[in-house]
């Protein structure tokens, strides 16, 4: 069943930029994705990728202007999009991408992962096509 555009649920969250907020992020994502009809593996994958993106938003910003991270979720034609925005610039995100498992896990679990860095903030946009 194709959801009517006006009734397509959106996810909008503002979370404190602290590691312990990641649990709340996953709980909210679970409820949202479950409502969209995502299966367990899809919920796990999107939650893991979003947690990794959130961890970057907590760790990387230089001189953030607020300590809030904005998370937006949307769905269109079965394609789930999650954006995670912080309010600081990353010093060397390409360098950071080479170390650690975070970006490889995000790229593996999502169909697309894009990082858009501006002086006033960095946005990670990720998409995943749901099977159903």
């Amino acid at each position: 069943v194709h959801p009517h555009p006006e009734t397509t649920p959106l996810l909008q969250l503002r979370l404190q930029a602290r590691p312990e907020s990641a649990l709340l992020l996953r709980q909210r994502l679970y409820l949202w994705l479950d409502e969209l009809g995502a299966n367990d593996e899809e919920i796990f994958d999107v939650s893991l990728a979003s947690t990794e993106a959130f961890a970057n938003a907590v760790e990387h910003p230089d001189q953030p202007t607020t300590d809030l991270v904005h998370i937006n979720g949307s769905i269109s034609d079965g394609m789930v999009a999650v954006t995670i925005c912080d309010s600081g610039s990353w010093r060397e995100h390409r360098e950071r991408e080479q170390g650690g498992y975070g970006f490889p896990l995000m790229r593996h679990h999502m169909d697309t992962v894009e990082v858009h860095s501006e002086p006033e903030g960095t946005t990670i946009t990720m998409q995943r096509q749901l099977a159903s």
Binding site: P19, E20, R26, D40, L48, T51, P104, L105
Partner: protein
């Protein structure tokens, strides 16, 4: 608020560290403090059967070198096993799908 758990038991001459809940950047610190307290002389296996979610920070904690070396992992098939495969954890540590077989193998080499 979170339901993360970590406990240690001795079985068959092995130190078995059982982990439950979400192993992420927040809770990995609690796993670190347990693994860093373990004895050097006895093999260590981390039982991941109760883990729901593991993130990159959790993987790093599992694969970090400790005084006893790196722990072996027991992880049944599922989402957590998929993450371990993606990061190729098996290149660094043995990963078992059967806890009894793991205990026999590790205990025998102790």
């Amino acid at each position: 608020m979170d339901d993360f758990e970590v406990s240690v038991a001795i079985r068959n001459g092995c130190q078995v560290v059982s982990v439950g809940g979400d192993l992420d950047g927040d809770t990995a610190l609690r796993l670190d403090s347990v693994l860093d307290r373990l004895a050097e002389a006895m093999p260590v296996i981390v039982d991941l059967a109760g883990v729901v979610m593991v993130t990159s920070a959790g993987v790093q904690a599992l694969l970090r070198e400790r005084v006893f070396g790196r722990p072996a992992l027991f992880c049944p098939d599922g989402n957590v096993a998929r993450v371990l495969a993606i990061v190729q954890a098996q290149r660094l540590v043995p990963i078992y799908r059967d806890l009894d077989a793991a205990l026999k193998g590790l205990g025998a080499t102790a």
